[in-house]
Amino acid sequence: MIKKQLILKDPLKFLNSSQKQIAATGGFGAVIARPGVGKTAFLVQIALRAMLTGKKVLHISVQDPVDKVNLWYIELFQKITASFPPDQQAGLWEELLTRRFIMTFETESFSFEKLQHRVTELKTQNVFVPDMIIIDGLTIDAAMYPKLNRLKSFAGENAINFWFSVGRHDREACDILDVADEFGDDFNVLFNQILWMVPEKTRILVKQYADRQTDEGDRPLVCLDPSTMLVQEENSISPE
């Protein structure tokens, strides 16, 4: 009951349709914003919504401990389900827990090879077979192209959908065009879905970047309420 209602009201539904296509080929998604805007909160919601539809999510965090990541999930889950009775919430949470796996690494010990190895191991041991992998806290730049490309073929072979948080830790401002410039022409090829978070006074807009040439990126897809970090429902988007 609770699950149906949550899926029906899913503000991130738009991802599902496109996701289905890219998941088959092992698609990459990127969430871009400067530090502190709310990439983790947004990614955790993408994960939670996917888990609701039965997908298994492996959450990789390079910097935060397991407990902290878990706390993000608990908090956002509670906010999303706040209007439902506590016993239904608890039941659903138990169910979702079986579809989530958190793996954390210390920055220096992380590598994509290690990650692939771990995922394969989880699969062979039949412990956890992820449909989606979220990689948060890793500095991703153009120099990683070859590695990311290898990872992408791995994603394709295993039908895993990847989401990355792409932050600019060195800079206060983060302009999507700068990032796109840095990555060059392959930006759109590597990442099948590029979302870009822009904080405004009372809300955080999530825009889609399609191509440098088009204006499509200016229309926000969804927005986040900065006080709860929750993704708002579609109809709430109106010009400020």
Binding site: S109, V127, F128
Partner: protein, 695 residues
């Protein structure tokens, strides 16, 4: 005996399993000349470490019961409580912390902040025990004290600051640089007992300066004098820095970190200096007692020797001369021949022999005064009892005791064993509140229950060895519980009016789930349809049903019973009739309230070398475990999972064979959760088989 209370330190040594805290204690006793030979925990000489006095402890190389011992360092007197590291013995750790004023948190330079360190740290927080950290095993390969400091900050949120830096890495570890005096300290001689102080080696000077600046920066918050000196760029004296670090440590706002290797006898003396310099004396901490009649009221104890006595028995031991009770005095003085009152049962006792302990050897003393730890003989009490001067009405804060999660049926083989077993059980239950023993009246079996497999195993061994009691033990059993998951109504009439004195009672009302509660009974009967004098009988009747639920015959919890109507008969209604009506009502309502079975889920943390992590996760998965996450820390992986206790029997052996003995795990109770259907069916089958074969 030292009479200056300012120079007394009551400290504990807490740590993760195998961080080497017993070895460290052993070295401290050696350096303070309390013992004259060093025995290794698992040494070849077969003597074992001095603190591990129980035969069993020596054999297994672990510390079970915490022994108290005292030693002298300079003009300071240090009382040390050696605390067990295994999670099954958490109660011992908690009890020890209650009587400590400060603690040394021992961390492994390779393993860093491990799961058990986190548990111990939480306990220290609960009792607000100031602590200093000692990074042990700096001589091991892969040792990195600064990584450990970073983990202290990150994982335990300590404001950890290095007071030393190591000279030499791993196998080349030679000594430490003291950042306060800016001198290099080497430990020479076979046992590292010859301290050699020299100038800092040139290649380490820059690092030492850098780390000293960090130290000064952190300490300056606690001292205006130091802040001024920093701002005015004048000479920063050793005294200033020491005072500031001490202030911060006592407030628990700074954690000084020292380094060394207990096994290689390095860094022990500097650690002892730090204990006397930074940890509090009994006068520096305030201890709080409760008023027995008004538990809300808190009384701060003066800690003065001239005030009336308040003391806490924190540990019992069975000595050669009868029961030995370890006590900590919070206020007043205890002399031979004094009279004190055990506040639990108001019994007056006369103090006979008083001793101070050094593991299992002791020294007789005339008196003990406030702030000290000692022991007395021949007084019958339980651990956790408060002793106070006649006229006082105080109790030391009651300690948190977790419910046992595992039980085991035991049977003595002959009469002599039975007698001994009874003696042993009465001793153990007094010593350890998490260990319980009772007789199952239906099967006439003796059941013991506790906090884990190892916990019970140790007690079984002790019964055999110390009490010569031969015992056959059954399979360990999980403490399942029943509860209901829906609301249901009942309306039941108990009627027996055929011949003789009749019985009549009707009760109606409803049952509903009350998560996180044991049992709530609410009386909403109006207009006297059930006369008031029978209400307690109703409650009693319901309560009796909770011991064995109608669903699977396990205790019932998390239930609320509300009665709102009923009927009575002027002659035939009685207490007995209403108790029977309550039982009937319960049966009627319970089946309709969708009963479910709950099982204890444990939080299991496994630390394993990376190459085995797949195997370990697989083993968790086979055990119905939900893996919360895995944290990769270079060579080791820490896996955290929630696993039903029922699946964890014998896991230690499984883990050993999966990982070539290189992994370790800890387990503690997390919550009660519903048993899944498939498992429930199997349990049912088993029960049915038992009944069939039994009859």
């Amino acid at each position: 005996m030292n009479t200056d209370i300012q120079k007394v330190r009551n400290i504990g040594i807490s740590a993760h399993i195998d961080s080497g805290k017993t070895t460290l204690t052993e070295r401290i006793l050696f350096m303070t000349r309390r013992i004259h030979r060093i025995h290794e925990v698992r040494g070849k000489d077969g003597v074992g470490a001095t603190m591990d006095s129980m035969e069993l402890e020596k054999e297994r190389g672990i510390t079970i019961a915490s022994a108290a011992t005292y030693c002298q360092w300079g003009d300071h007197e240090v009382n040390i409580i050696d605390t067990p590291g295994h999670v099954d013995f958490t109660i011992e750790v908690e009890r020890a912390l209650r009587v400590l004023d400060g603690a040394i948190l021992v961390l492994c330079a390779v393993g860093g902040v491990q799961s058990q360190s986190i548990t111990v740290d939480q306990q220290m927080k609960r009792y607000r025990v100031p602590c200093i950290a000692f990074v042990n095993k700096c001589d091991r390969s892969g040792a990195d004290p600064f990584r450990v400091i970073a983990q202290l900050r990150e994982k335990l949120h300590h404001n950890a600051v290095a007071l030393q830096i190591p000279i030499g890495q791993e196998a080349g570890f030679e000594g430490v640089i003291d950042l306060i005096s800016m001198k290099a300290v080497y430990f020479d001689g076979d046992y590292g007992d010859a301290v050699r102080i020299e100038a800092i080696p040139a290649d380490l000077l820059d690092l030492a300066r850098e780390k000293r600046d960090i130290l000064i920066d952190a300490a300056s918050i606690f001292s205006d004098e130091l802040t001024d000196a920093v701002l005015e760029e004048t000479e920063i004296s050793e005294r200033m820095l020491l005072a500031a670090v001490r202030t911060g440590t006592l407030k628990r706002e700074i954690t000084p970190v020292l380094m060394g290797s207990a096994y290689k006898n390095k860094g022990i003396q500097t650690l002892l200096d730090a204990v006397t310099r930074f940890l509090p004396s009994p006068m520096d901490v305030s201890n709080i007692a409760m008023d027995i009649d008004d538990p809300e009221k808190q009384i701060i104890l003066s800690g003065k020797a001239d005030d009336p006595l308040v003391a806490l028995a924190f540990k019992l031991e069975d000595g050669h001369y009868g029961q030995l009770s370890y006590i900590r005095l919070y206020q007043g003085m205890l002399k031979k021949g004094d009279v004190a009152v055990n506040m639990r049962n108001r019994q007056k006792i006369k103090v006979g022999r008083i001793v101070r302990m050094h593991a299992d050897q002791m020294e007789d003393v005339e008196r003990i005064s406030a702030g000290y730890i000692g022991a007395f003989f021949g007084i019958d009490c339980s651990s956790g009892d408060t002793f106070a001067a006649p006229g006082l009405n105080l109790s030391m804060t009651s300690m948190f005791v977790p419910e046992p999660v595992i039980s085991l049926a035991i049977k003595p083989v002959n009469l002599q064993s039975e007698k001994n077993m009874t003696k042993a059980l009465s001793r153990f239950t007094k010593e350890d509140p998490t260990f319980r023993a009772f007789t199952n009246e239906e099967t006439n079996e003796t059941i013991i229950s506790g906090m884990g497999e190892l916990h019970l195993e140790i007690y079984l061994e002790r019964m055999k060895r110390e009490y010569q009691s031969d015992i056959i033990s059954g399979e360990p059993r999980v403490a399942y519980r029943e509860t209901i998951s829906a609301r249901s109504e009942f309306d039941y009439t108990h009627k027996k009016q055929t011949g003789g004195s009749g019985q009549y009672g009707r009760i109606s009302g409803y049952l509903e789930p009350a998560p996180d509660q044991d049992f709530i009974f609410e009386n909403k009967v109006t207009g006297g349809s059930i006369p008031t004098q029978f209400i307690p009988a109703c409650e009693k009747g319901f309560k009796a049903c909770l011991e064995k639920g109608p669903y699977m015959k396990y205790p019932v919890t998390g239930i609320k019973i509300v009665i709102n109507d009923g009927a009575s008969h002027t002659v035939d209604s009685s207490d007995i009739a209403f108790q029977a009506a309550a039982r009937g009502s319960f049966q009627q309502g319970y089946v309709k309230a969708s009963p479910i079975l709950l099982e204890p889920i444990m939080k299991v943390v496994v630390e394993t070398p990376g190459e085995f992590q797949g195997n370990v996760m697989g083993s968790m998965n086979q055990r119905r475990g939900i893996i919360i996450g895995a944290h990769d820390v270079g060579y080791t992986t820490v896996i955290e999972a929630r696993v039903p206790l029922a699946e964890m029997f014998g896991y230690a052996t499984v883990l050993r064979s999966l990982t070539q003995g290189k992994a370790q795990f800890t387990m503690e109770f997390d919550a009660y959760k519903q048993v899944p259907k498939s498992v429930l069916d199997k349990l049912r089958e088993k029960e049915e088989k038992k009944i069939k074969t039994g009859t």
